[in-house]
């Protein structure tokens, strides 16, 4: 695949993230932060998120199992996940977190369980998409370090 095709593919992919609501403005903000002193900033941040969020998901799952009636604790954990998701602009995850929190509020254990499952799926999807994206990016990296198709 030649360079320009790659670039087009990257651009398209990124646009789809936005169109399909996987990512929001925050992702752009991250790209704007990227500069010479941190040429791989966005990728690093995303990597950090993808590394840390499974832990949060596990905590949530664990809490539902161990303290099924402790909605306050659950809410707190979901809140953490929500905050984390907001860092990279993971809109769908953020929204699912809001739904999840509503279930906690209603003390709806079944609702919480469902939310958790959806959350895990969203997370897996997002992870796969982002990883593909950065893989592509790395292929064009030697020529450009900052991929900001908005410019």
């Amino acid at each position: 695949m030649d360079y320009s095709t790659l670039r087009r593919q990257i651009t398209f992919m990124k646009k789809s993230f936005f169109d399909q609501g996987y990512l929001d403005e925050q992702f752009n903000q991250l790209e704007e932060l990227q500069d010479e002193s941190s040429p791989n900033f966005v990728e690093e941040v995303v990597a950090l998120f993808l590394k840390d969020s499974p832990r949060l998901l596990t905590n949530i799952e664990h809490t539902i199992g161990k303290y099924p009636q402790d909605f306050h604790r659950l809410d707190s954990l979901v809140h953490q996940l929500k905050g984390s998701g907001s860092s990279i602009g993971a809109v769908r995850m953020k929204n699912e977190c809001s739904v999840f929190k509503a279930h906690c509020n209603d003390k709806n254990l079944e609702g919480c369980r469902r939310s958790l499952q959806r959350m895990k799926r969203e997370h897996a999807t997002l992870k796969q998409k982002l990883e593909s994206y950065f893989q592509l990016l790395r292929q064009v990296a030697p020529r450009e370090h900052a991929v900001n198709s908005r410019k």
Binding site: L30, D35, H79, G83, S87
Partner: protein, 578 residues
């Protein structure tokens, strides 16, 4: 600061957030604002850092939801102890939460995702605060300055004489209240009218108050009795106000305890002793009025009075007075605690250590008075190391005086040697960890109160405002302070003392810089630093350097608040006077 060219580059920010992703992002954003950033993933570690490097930060940004400590609690602590502006962050923008933040003293509340432009403006809070402080000082310093100057210079020759002649004996031998000659020489540094309330000075104050009788006390009377040259009525007045607040708070705390105990056993001598505190509290429900029981004398008097009341209570229908006092005080105490800052919560939540009666001033004074509201005097008070003995020499040997009676009602846990010492030593045991390693172990958050954590995080942020070691090596932490060799963490306690007494030394030399320069024979220097025993001479030289380099002005800036005489001033924590 009005124009762009005056943008506060290098503003020193501490960011606290348990989310590693956000921490990284915020750090990047703040760096882009040309600020100096230190990051921290745990609230407790953040507090340690702030205590350790008291004056090395201008502002703190913290998330609201953190696993090891509620962000609001951290906010309180910071406000109480360091009085730094704190900005809260959260993904939750619910009005009630924001309100809570403001109530706890946050100077701003940012919603995540935070934008660069919001961070760019945070310097306003720092600036605003400084302006506020400067204004307070200006209100009080104007005429005092001249007086101090006069004293300072006039006593000059006498000082010289005293120094070279047998100054030690001269100083120690008598009650400084009576000895004017002595006093002239110990006037605070002629530079500025910054009264530093050392332990000894405060001791004099308390003695004066005791002597006069707490009810009849007034700044003028105290001032006269203390007879400290250079001390002004205003200084005493503001100190008295704080003292009253402090006592008031002690009482409340006591009441809290007693309310529990007294209800169970009304006839006990123990509670009754405190009951009398309560009833007197009830008599003067307002915050800052005279009439708080004078620590030593009054209480005994009231004790007997209440005892008899209690006796009656036992025998007959409970007297309205004690009951009322119970209830009303209870509610007053409760309401007092509910409103605004709840120092009790802050205090009790801390790893309090029992009061160290033979307190090494350097430890107790320096750290951990978490309930220290507003944090104004805390900086100064807290940094009085053994150096106070030096003052003691000047003012008469008050070091051997019994500590103020304030202690008696105080909850032991309330007075403590600084927790951070403990936490630091705990954390010593940990190896250096990656931030990512620590994160999973958040449940063991106490253990991960590791400077290593901070270190590791710090290694991400490549710059630090001072010579703090940035390696991920657990051995070397922000233990190193400018000019001082960084030591291994194994020597934390020494180091702790070293770090802490370094700052007091700053005060010492700041106060006496003019003296020491001009009075080479002045024993103060040797006395104080020998006591510190940490290569005091080195410290002194270091401090000299600091002063010369103008860092002193920073120091004074932080201290500026003291001279202010606002009602906001916090309650004085027991540890100060322990």
């Amino acid at each position: 600061m009005a124009d762009a060219s005056a943008f506060p580059y290098g503003l020193r920010v501490l960011v606290v957030d348990d989310d590693p992703t956000w921490l990284k992002i915020l750090e990047k954003m703040l760096r882009k604002c040309s600020y100096e950033v230190t990051t921290c993933g745990l609230a407790r570690v953040a507090l340690d850092i702030l205590r350790e490097r008291r004056n090395k930060f201008d502002i703190v940004i913290s998330d609201v939801n953190m696993p090891d400590m509620d962000g609001f609690k951290l906010l309180e602590h910071i406000g109480l102890e360091m009085d730094l502006p704190v900005i809260m962050m959260s993904i939750d923008g619910e009005t009630s939460r924001v309100m809570k933040g403001v109530q706890h003293g946050a100077c701003d509340y940012l919603l995540k995702p935070v934008r660069m432009k919001e961070l760019r403006n945070i310097w306003q809070h720092v600036y605003r605060k400084k302006m506020h402080e400067v204004k307070e000082i200006e209100d009080h310093d104007s005429c005092d300055d001249l007086q101090m100057l006069r004293y300072g210079f006039e006593g000059f020759d006498e000082k010289g004489l005293f120094m070279t002649v047998d100054s030690d004996t001269t100083r120690k031998r008598k009650d400084a209240d009576k000895d004017h000659a002595d006093q002239d020489s110990d006037g605070a540094a002629a530079k500025k009218a910054r009264v530093v309330w050392s332990v000894d000075l405060h001791q004099k104050f308390v003695n004066a108050v005791n002597q006069i009788g707490f009810d009849k006390v007034g700044p003028k009377k105290i001032l006269d009795l203390m007879n400290v040259p250079g001390l002004t009525r205003e200084n005493v007045a503001s100190h008295l106000q704080k003292y009253r607040l402090y006592l008031g708070r002690l009482q409340k705390q006591n009441e809290e305890r007693i309310l529990g105990a007294a209800r169970q056993d009304f006839s006990n001598k123990g509670p009754s002793e405190n009951l009398n505190l309560r009833s007197s509290f009830q008599e003067q429900p307002s915050n800052i009025s005279s009439g708080y029981p004078h620590p030593s004398q009054k209480i005994q008097g009231q004790n007997s009075v209440l005892d008899s009341q209690l006796e009656d209570t036992k025998r007959t229908v409970p007297l309205p007075v004690p009951d009322k006092s119970l209830n009303s005080v209870g509610s007053v105490a409760a309401s007092h605690n509910v409103a605004g800052v709840s120092p009790l919560g802050g205090v009790l939540s801390f790893k309090g250590l029992p009061v160290n009666q033979d307190r090494k001033p350097s430890e107790t004074m320096n750290l951990g008075c978490p309930a220290w509201n507003g944090g104004v005097p805390s900086k100064q008070f807290m940094q009085y190391p053994k150096h106070n003995h030096a003052r003691c020499d000047l003012l008469g040997d008050y070091a051997c005086l019994p500590k103020p009676d304030l202690e008696h009602p105080i909850a032991p846990g309330h007075l403590f040697t600084p927790p951070p010492l403990i936490s630091m030593s705990c954390s010593m045991e940990l190896d250096a960890r990656n931030f990512s390693d620590v994160k999973p172990g958040l449940l063991d958050c106490l253990k991960s109160l590791s400077p290593a954590l901070t270190c590791t995080v710090d290694s991400v942020s490549t710059q630090l405002s001072d010579s703090v070691v940035t390696s991920a090596d657990a051995d070397r932490k922000f233990s190193s302070v400018e000019g001082l060799p960084s030591t291994n963490f194994d020597q934390t306690s020494n180091q702790g003392a070293l770090v802490r007494s370094q700052e007091p030394s700053i005060i010492c030399s700041a106060d006496f810089s003019s003296l020491t320069e001009d009075l080479p024979g002045y024993p103060l220097q040797s006395v104080s630093f020998e006591n510190i025993g940490l290569g005091g001479i080195d410290l002194f030289h270091y401090n000299d350097a600091m002063i010369l380099s103008g860092l002193q002005s920073n120091w004074y800036d932080d201290q500026d608040q003291f001279a202010g005489d606002t009602i906001d001033y916090p309650l004085m924590d027991g540890c100060l006077f322990a």
